[in-house]
Symmetry: C2
Subunit: 253 residues, 2 copies
Amino acid sequence: MNLESPRSRYQQVADDLRDAIKRGDHPPGSTLPSQPELARRYGLNQTSINRAIAVLRAEGLVRVEHGRGAYVQEIPTVKRVRRIDKEHRPHTGSSAYAEEMRKSGLTPRTELVRVDTVIPPAEIAELFGLGETERTLIRHRHMFAEDVPLQIATSYIPMSYAGSTDLALPDTGPTGIYSRLAERGHEPVRFTEEIEVRAPDPAEARFLRISEGQPVFEVLRVAIDAQDRPVEACVNILAALQWRLSYSWRQEP
Amino acid sequence: MNLESPRSRYQQVADDLRDAIKRGDHPPGSTLPSQPELARRYGLNQTSINRAIAVLRAEGLVRVEHGRGAYVQEIPTVKRVRRIDKEHRPHTGSSAYAEEMRKSGLTPRTELVRVDTVIPPAEIAELFGLGETERTLIRHRHMFAEDVPLQIATSYIPMSYAGSTDLALPDTGPTGIYSRLAERGHEPVRFTEEIEVRAPDPAEARFLRISEGQPVFEVLRVAIDAQDRPVEACVNILAALQWRLSYSWRQEP
DNA sequence: TAGTGGTCTAGACCACTGC
DNA sequence: CAGTGGTCTAGACCACTAA
């Protein structure tokens, strides 16, 4: 521990632990030494050690379980692919999400938390050009892989396109929804995805099992029909440090 | 200040300040009250206040300048667009980056920091299928808008495609590079972008003027030619909390 | 110089886990 | 119960900024 360094001591501890993890001294799934133990080793106060570990938490390198210890993250970096060129998504019954999970060798599971009609958030209402009292169908889902929570999905469809909540039952994923929208003459032909990173709200952090300091992706996908009307909007929330988003396209000459 | 709350005091202070900022009590560009002042108001220790402000920093809501104060961020959320459907990028001489900035009403500026030949990082070498001693052309650029640093771009091209560093001079942005690759028979026809979020290294944090706790986007764009060979890889680093990435495509029926 | 934020300590207490 | 992490304080000192 270099006391003269311009780098603060807790940062040096964080750097040291980070290096140790990357070297494999603390393999994924194992716990770091306890804070009092680290304090002893580095000759520092527990408060400083706690702060060093907060740095590693913010980086997604460790996950702390109160009363148990600081676990080295088993880097479950998942790849989420939007393939946009010719080889498009197959028309199987299963969702793109399920396809992606299976490709990664994981068992997907989706829990349909809520189907209802609501007055949507302002951003969504504006997108659809809805008045303040107009309602949308809402589908709120929790998605898992191997029982690990991975993603929150909330989809909105204006009632004028949806007709009734029956559209969403049983839960069939977006593919099913799109087929039913197509039957009603609102087949999506164009999509946009907007990606934002922000701090999670407490509920999101709890579900995704991350601390409130860790960023999440908020991906807004909008499906647009041939008349250029947005017919569905879907908000996905993912732990940003555990995902890699991928897009692929062919440049038209 | 609710001392009995399960929510810790520094979190309550952070919540309170966050609400005040969103209400407009502390407009963008202004400073928060000093830490000793806040400590007095909330009846807490300065250490706790400091911690509360660390939360807001991690969220990108405030930017702290040592010795000066904690400034409320003038949320310069920039939109970076990949338009993938028919109306493709115009073949003007200027880069996609410059186009995007002008669309947002900002004056772009690019600084060519370095043009050289190097042995690339392992990830890049693997992508190109290069041996451990094979070199690539490297173009390292810093990009600004209104003199605010916005983006770091590092592009790699295997020497077998580039021929010499002349390819990169003068700096013309990717469009120019792609034209010259086309002249050499390696016109890119397909692209992939992979988006990751991670903690910045100290140099990146310093250049982007963010604290080390704030996440950055690492966007890896790979250009692929008609023979399915990757011919260029470009790594972009952006402050994740200040950007919104946007993709748009047409679904083939 | 005075005012700002950043770090550190010693010691305390609490909440949670698991035996 | 002992061991874990989480929070808080009082007080101190440092580094940076601005007058």
